[in-house]
């Protein structure tokens, strides 16, 4: 294999590697042709080198002449160079500009991050949220002072103390809302994730054991759902506490839920607290046609520790503020947190009524002639029944969307997907809206699942709400048309459930109103609740009862009981009137 021209030239120039060079050398020793080519190449290079050396270029005088011209130009250049500040500018341009840039950057940093920087609500909320997450990841005890201050029309204040114990990992939770004297107003206990107790002394003196649930936490704005009276606001606060899904109170999540996640609806400012400590106040406002709600959260400006949360509702006639001031928020070791705080207190929990899984037993029928409404029980306003009836007719009790509009001398409720289903009543718009809002709380949303089971469940839920909202003790004084409305609603729901059960293709027991059932409406409500819980379990398929036909028969009996007890109650009332 002969050498290429490149190899020969590189070999001559000493640019080959030692290995390649030796190989070419060996080849050249043995190859005449390549050696001749190498020599020819060398000769050509030699000729070229001599020719270049002898090339009379540049002309003889050029070198001297050009050097003179160059020196003249160098001198000109030097004179301009000496008088011009450009070299100095060039020399110092970089350090000076770097220093200026550094100065600008530090100024910008101080302006945006320093103590006088403009606050961004979203960043403050994020900081508070981060601090709260750090605190609440461990067991924590919170103590708040609750103040409900009515500003208009009268000035009055209701005070209370709220204590919360939360151990998120083990699912334990407890809250106590007590009056200044120490009397318990409301309490929640959750010793484990499968046991929940609620104590509402205003409703019942018993501690109720309720089915474990987890609701979506609602906004603080819902405190106005019951009305703007201090007592109503307190009641709404209790509802709000029950809807918190067993979490400690978090100001950051409340304000971000109220003012949009990105804090775009909120403003932040620096203030001085009552003790002179620097604080940051985040304020968010929501305005509706009827009311303005302003939520304020105050946090420590250095540690972002939550301090105060207040929401103020204002209408042209009324103004009321609900304040939740953090007295102490302490992380507690799990071993130091007494287990007893998560259990109902013995003096309160004399009787814990368990509503599941065992169905409630029937109570003995009371003698109608001896029945009297105990003193001190508030009677239900007939308007509540009327409002519920109108909403029932429009389908709102089943979760259908309705439009409530004001018209001369009354209010009109129209079902959105069926404009023909329009109902009118003489109640005020505020009252009806309040009733609707009350009805919507915890209501299953239609359309999340299709089929018979969900339809039956919605009717079941509506009956349960009827039982809860209109207990027998409180409806005794209602006028006859209210009773008729209640009965109509109940019959609508029971017949709807029966229709759905027929749709399941299971045999049901014949005859309705066969048994008189439980005469006391409150007990009937309990029966209703137990029955429908059972129905719920059956329809969801997690019932312990294996025979669906038996269960359906049992349910039918319960439905009969409900209607029967209602009829008995109605009859007793008519007797009493006569």
């Amino acid at each position: 294999m002969h050498c290429s021209d490149e190899q020969l030239l590189a070999h001559l120039d000493g640019e080959l590697s030692a290995f390649s060079s030796r190989r070419v050398e060996r080849h050249l020793k043995s190859c005449w042709r390549c050696r001749t080519r190498r020599n020819a190449c060398e000769q050509e290079i030699q000729r070229l080198t001599i020719a270049v050396d002898e090339w009379p270029f540049p002309p003889p005088g050029w070198n001297r002449d050009a050097a003179q011209r160059l020196n003249r130009r160098l001198r000109e250049c030097e004179s301009g160079f000496a008088s011009s500040p450009v070299p100095y500018i060039r020399r110092f341009a970089f350090p000076v500009s770097a220093a200026a840039l550094l100065l600008c950057l530090s100024g910008w940093f101080l302006w945006t991050r320093g103590p006088h920087a403009r606050l961004r609500p979203a960043e403050v909320i994020a900081q508070v949220s981060s601090v709260e997450r750090t605190i609440y990841v461990q067991p924590v005890q919170q103590t708040f002072s609750v103040e409900i201050a009515e500003i208009r029309p009268a000035r009055q204040t209701v005070n209370a103390k709220l204590q919360i114990w939360s151990d998120r990992d083990s699912g334990r939770f407890a809250s106590r809302l007590s009056a200044p004297g120490g009397a318990l107003k409301h309490a929640l206990w959750r010793p484990a994730s499968d046991a929940e107790f609620v104590y509402r002394p205003a409703v019942t003196a018993e501690v109720l054991k309720q089915r474990p649930h987890r609701e979506e936490t609602v906004s603080l704005e819902s405190l106005a759902d019951f009305g703007l009276d201090p007592a109503e606001l307190e009641r709404a606060f209790m509802h709000w506490l029950e809807s918190r899904s067993w979490n400690p109170i978090s100001f950051a999540s409340d304000i971000s839920r109220f003012a949009a996640e990105d804090g775009s609806l909120a403003t932040a400012e620096r203030i001085r607290g009552q003790d002179g400590a620097p604080m940051i106040r985040i304020t968010a406002q929501r305005r509706s046609r009827k009311m303005v709600a302003v939520l304020t959260v105050e946090v420590d400006s250095r540690s972002y520790w939550p301090r105060l949360q207040a929401i103020r509702f204002e209408t042209p006639q009324r103004a009321i503020e609900f304040r939740l001031a953090a007295t102490s928020i302490q992380p507690v070791r799990r071993t130091e947190m007494a287990a007893s705080v998560f259990h109902p207190e013995p003096n309160v929990a004399r009787e814990i009524r368990t509503v599941r899984p065992v169905l409630p037993r029937h109570e003995a029928p009371a003698d109608p002639s001896t029945y009297e409404r105990p003193a001190g029980v508030l009677a239900i306003d007939p308007r509540a029944v009327e409002a519920r009836f109108v909403l029932h007719q429009a389908g709102a009790c089943l979760g259908e969307s309705v439009r409530v509009s004001e018209e001369t001398g009354g209010t009109r409720v129209v079902r959105l997907d069926n404009e023909a289903a329009s109902y009118r009543c003489e109640l005020g718009l505020d009252y009806l809206l309040s009733a609707l809002s009350d009805l919507r709380r915890g209501q299953p949303v239609p359309g999340d699942a299709a089929g018979t089971r969900t339809v039956a469940l919605r009717h079941a839920w509506a009956m349960r709400r009827l039982g809860e909202d209109f207990p027998a003790l409180r409806i005794a004084d209602l006028p006859p048309n209210s009773w008729q409305m209640l009965e109509t609603m109940l019959r609508d729901h029971t017949s709807a459930v029966r229709r759905e059960l027929d749709g399941l293709g299971l045999q049901r027991s014949a005859g309705s109103m066969r048994r008189p059932g439980n005469p006391a409406w409150r007990a009937s409500a309990t029966v209703l609740f137990g029955t429908l819980t059972h129905l719920n379990e059956l329809l969801l398929g997690d019932s312990a009862v294996n025979d669906p036909a038996l269960s359906v028969a049992a349910i039918n009996r319960r439905l009969d009981d409900i209607l029967g007890s209602f009829a008995l109650e109605s009859g007793r009332r008519n007797t009493a009137i006569r």
């Binding site: 490149e6 590189a10 640019e15 540049p58 011209r69 160059l70 160098l74 030097e78």
Partner: protein, 186 residues
């Protein structure tokens, strides 16, 4: 660097390196006047940078780079001028556009080297090799690979061999048509 040092450095380098740069520039620009200007400008730029205290490691390579930049600038100027002339309506009346600079023939014919048979790149590489630059240095200066330098050199030597053999045999060497502006510099 102070004025004296900078002037002395520039003058010393001009004396030893100036003639080669002039030859190189002439081969690239085909004009003695332009080449002379280009070399002067390159040394002025060197002087300025020395005075400003910039650090220059290889003065020869630096000035060669400066000359190449100047030649490229000149080529760009020529191209712009040619475009302007083409777009002018007045040119319709002119018999033919004169070649500018039309001095290439002088340097092709009186050059004893026979470099006119080479391409621009080959000639550039050869001239640098004649100044005893290593392949690696040439490659670095021209922005090409070492193997390309070797190939270009071998090709140039081959062409020159053929040209000198033809000249010896009384034949005219084939002269490649070259554009006014060197391709490698466009």
């Amino acid at each position: 660097m102070n004025q004296e040092d900078a002037t002395r450095t520039a003058n010393d380098l001009f004396e030893s390196w100036g003639p080669f740069l002039l030859r190189y520039a002439v081969r690239m620009t085909r004009s003695f006047e332009v080449a002379d200007d280009v070399v002067q400008e390159a040394f002025l730029a060197l002087f300025r940078d020395l005075r400003e205290g910039k650090r220059i490691d290889n003065l020869k390579a630096w000035t060669l780079g400066a000359v190449r930049n100047q030649v490229r600038k000149h080529a760009r100027y020529l191209r712009c001028q040619a475009e302007e002339l083409e777009s002018s309506d007045a040119l319709d009346l002119m018999p033919a556009r004169p070649r500018w600079p039309d001095v290439a023939a002088d340097f092709d014919d009186d050059a004893p080297l026979g470099l006119s048979v080479l391409s621009c790149r080959e000639e550039e590489v050869l001239l640098l090799r004649l100044q005893s630059f290593k392949y690696r240095e040439i490659a670095g200066k021209l922005g090409i690979g070492t193997k390309s330098v070797c190939t270009l050199l071998a090709r140039a030597v081959k062409k020159l061999q053929i040209a000198s053999r033809s000249a010896r045999n009384g034949e005219l060497a084939r002269k490649p048509v070259r554009s006014e502006v060197p391709d490698a510099l466009q």
